[in-house]
């Protein structure tokens, strides 16, 4: 079982990202669970989402306390709240940033990858400068780093999972897949 936690901001599509990733996993025959932090989402406020992926029916219904990997959609959150609590040693931290993995500093023994998802999203006109929608962009990088599925499967899930701008989202996903740094 793989467990992943995502961090973003209300209105940014964090929960949708988790859902699309789950859809992609389902397409390759996995059983999945994807859920938001159970709470009261407010536009602008920090939010979390979670994914479980397994080969069998997933019976466990509790929260994820020790994720294997972390995805940070909103880099501005770094430093304002604790993001890495519970992350398993050696787990991946995948951050939306233009910086190099080496520039990112997190206390602990983790692997770090970066994706310039905001840049990509804006390039493809996903959201506004003040509120870019980065979820589809970042997923391209996530599946590459975590080796979860092939790009085509993800693209199919993106097409089904986004409400508007299908092509732009797909393009962003693909571009992110290519430009992700830090993969093995």
């Amino acid at each position: 079982m793989v467990e992943i936690r995502l961090h973003g901001r209300g209105g940014q599509g964090t929960v949708v990202a988790a859902k699309i990733l789950a859809d992609a996993m389902s397409k390759i025959g996995k059983y999945v669970q994807a859920f938001p932090e159970y709470g009261v989402e407010r536009r602008g406020a920090p939010v979390k989402a979670f994914i479980r992926i397994d080969d069998d029916i997933i019976y466990i219904k509790s929260q994820i306390y020790e994720p294997d990997n972390l995805v940070i959609l909103e880099p501005a959150l770094i430093g304002t709240i604790d993001l890495i609590y519970g992350l398993k040693e050696g787990g991946w931290i995948i951050v939306n940033t233009n910086k190099d993995p080496a520039e990112m500093k997190f206390d602990g023994n983790y692997r770090i990858a970066t994706i310039p998802a905001t840049k990509i999203a804006l390039k493809h006109h996903l959201g506004s400068k003040a509120a870019p929608i980065v979820n589809t962009a970042i997923l391209g990088g996530v599946i590459k780093i975590l080796e979860l599925c092939d790009l085509d499967t993800l693209v199919e899930a993106v097409r089904e999972g986004v409400p508007i701008k299908e092509d732009a989202n797909v393009a962003a996903t693909k571009e992110a897949f290519e430009s992700t740094k830090g993969g093995r």
């Binding site: 859920f35 159970y38 306390y65």
Partner: protein, 384 residues
């Protein structure tokens, strides 16, 4: 076809596939997605139903009851406060013998305001005569809606399909979608002997004195008793068509079990992993998940407990001044049995406090150290 859907949408698809004809519902967190999707389906024409966007849950249920009495299939969904506001009408639906099917998302009751899961909302309705099905995953949610119509229409009593707030309602899970044709085959159109019909006028529910009321209540009790085998039959028939069978209860690794963990819904689901862990450690422990809570499957529970040395009921609910409710009901059902184990009652996870595998293992280990039941409530996870 497989889909990844949230529990709330599992309810919506269940209603759609069952061809609900009248829907009346009112929003409440964590139920809103159920009716948002149904609104879309009705607007798109995917579902050919009248959707009454009522001004309260009370009206949602009365509208469903009224519509049901004309002979159409009705659906609604709610949670916690909304369910509580329906309470009088829940009694009504039973007395009027209208097989309304409702989804309820288990959320803790206010005050204080909270939106997280707990079963006290639906269990507080245990004396209304509604059938209650507690589901452990989104697949079961969807499948149970379809089965609920079938049983409800046969026994002419309403049924509630219940799922945990967030833990299922907002969690996307892999769900196998039944095909419409097969559902149509499984679930024939709704027919009524006595219905509101200008061509055959009757008054429904008129004043009844002590000379008749008792008998009508007796008939209701007989009807809900009839539902006990029905839930088994229908669950098996469903299995034949769709490959997934259901019953009144579900068991796991009980063949040689000396100890039994009894629970419901997602806590029971999580308990499986605890059982796996304990079995690995050599413990002879099994799981009994109570799926149908009303009618209470007393015979089933009695027979499953007869060869057990120790049982633990884990409740995510409380009847203040008594104990956990499943605990109470299991004990009451088994009281007059000859062979029966001591039963320990644990309350945990109220108000959405998470219940993990580790918690269940802890509970098991704690109880195994006890010689006898000292108190009706063992608290787990509360910061005393």
């Amino acid at each position: 076809m497989r889909k990844v859907i949230i529990g709330n949408h599992a309810l919506s698809y269940g209603a759609m596939l069952s061809r609900a004809q009248v829907i009346a519902a009112y929003p409440i967190t964590p139920q809103t997605e159920v009716i948002e999707l149904l609104s879309e389906m009705c607007a798109n024409g995917e579902l050919d139903a009248k959707f009454i966007k009522v001004e309260s849950e009370h009206s949602a249920m009365t509208a469903c009851v009224g519509a049901s009495a004309t002979g159409v299939r009705t659906f609604t969904a709610t949670s916690a406060q909304g369910l509580a506001l329906m309470h009088e009408v829940l009694h009504w639906a039973v007395g009027a013998r209208t097989p309304v099917v409702m989804g309820n998302i288990n959320r803790a009751m206010a005050p204080p305001w909270t939106i997280w899961t707990e079963q006290t909302d639906s269990l507080s309705q245990r004396d209304t005569g509604w059938m209650q099905i507690y589901c452990q995953n989104n697949q079961e949610v969807l499948d149970s809606v379809i089965q609920a119509y079938k049983v409800a229409e046969q026994v002419k009593l309403p049924a509630m399909v219940i799922l945990a707030a967030f833990v299922l309602s907002h969690t996307s899970e892999t769900v196998e979608m039944p095909e419409q044709e097969k559902v149509d085959e499984f679930l024939p159109p709704y027919e009524l002997e006595y219905k509101i019909d200008p061509d055959d006028p009757h008054a429904f529910g008129g004043l009844t004195g002590p000379d008749g009321y008792f008998e009508l209540r007796y008939i209701i009790q007989k009807a809900i008793e009839d539902a006990i085998p029905k839930w088994e039959e229908v669950g098996e028939e469903f299995g034949k068509l769709f490959g997934r069978s259901y019953g009144l209860v579900e068991t796991y690794k009980i063949e040689d079990a000396k100890e039994l963990i009894i629970s419901s819904a997602t806590v029971a689901s999580t308990a499986r992993s605890a059982i796996d862990y304990l079995r690995e450690k050599g413990k002879k422990v099994g799981l009994l998940r109570i799926r149908v809570f009303r009618p209470f499957p007393a015979e089933k529970v009695k027979s499953l407990l007869s060869a057990i040395d120790k049982a633990i009921v884990i409740d995510r609910n409380i009847s203040f001044g008594a104990s956990g409710i499943f605990y109470q009901e299991v004990k009451a059902a088994c009281y007059n049995e000859k062979n029966k184990p001591p039963i320990f009652g644990v309350i945990t996870g109220l108000g959405g406090r998470d219940v993990g595998k580790k918690d269940i293992i802890d509970i098991y280990e704690y109880v195994m150290k006890q010689d006898k039941v000292e108190s009706d409530i063992i608290w787990k996870g509360v910061r005393v």
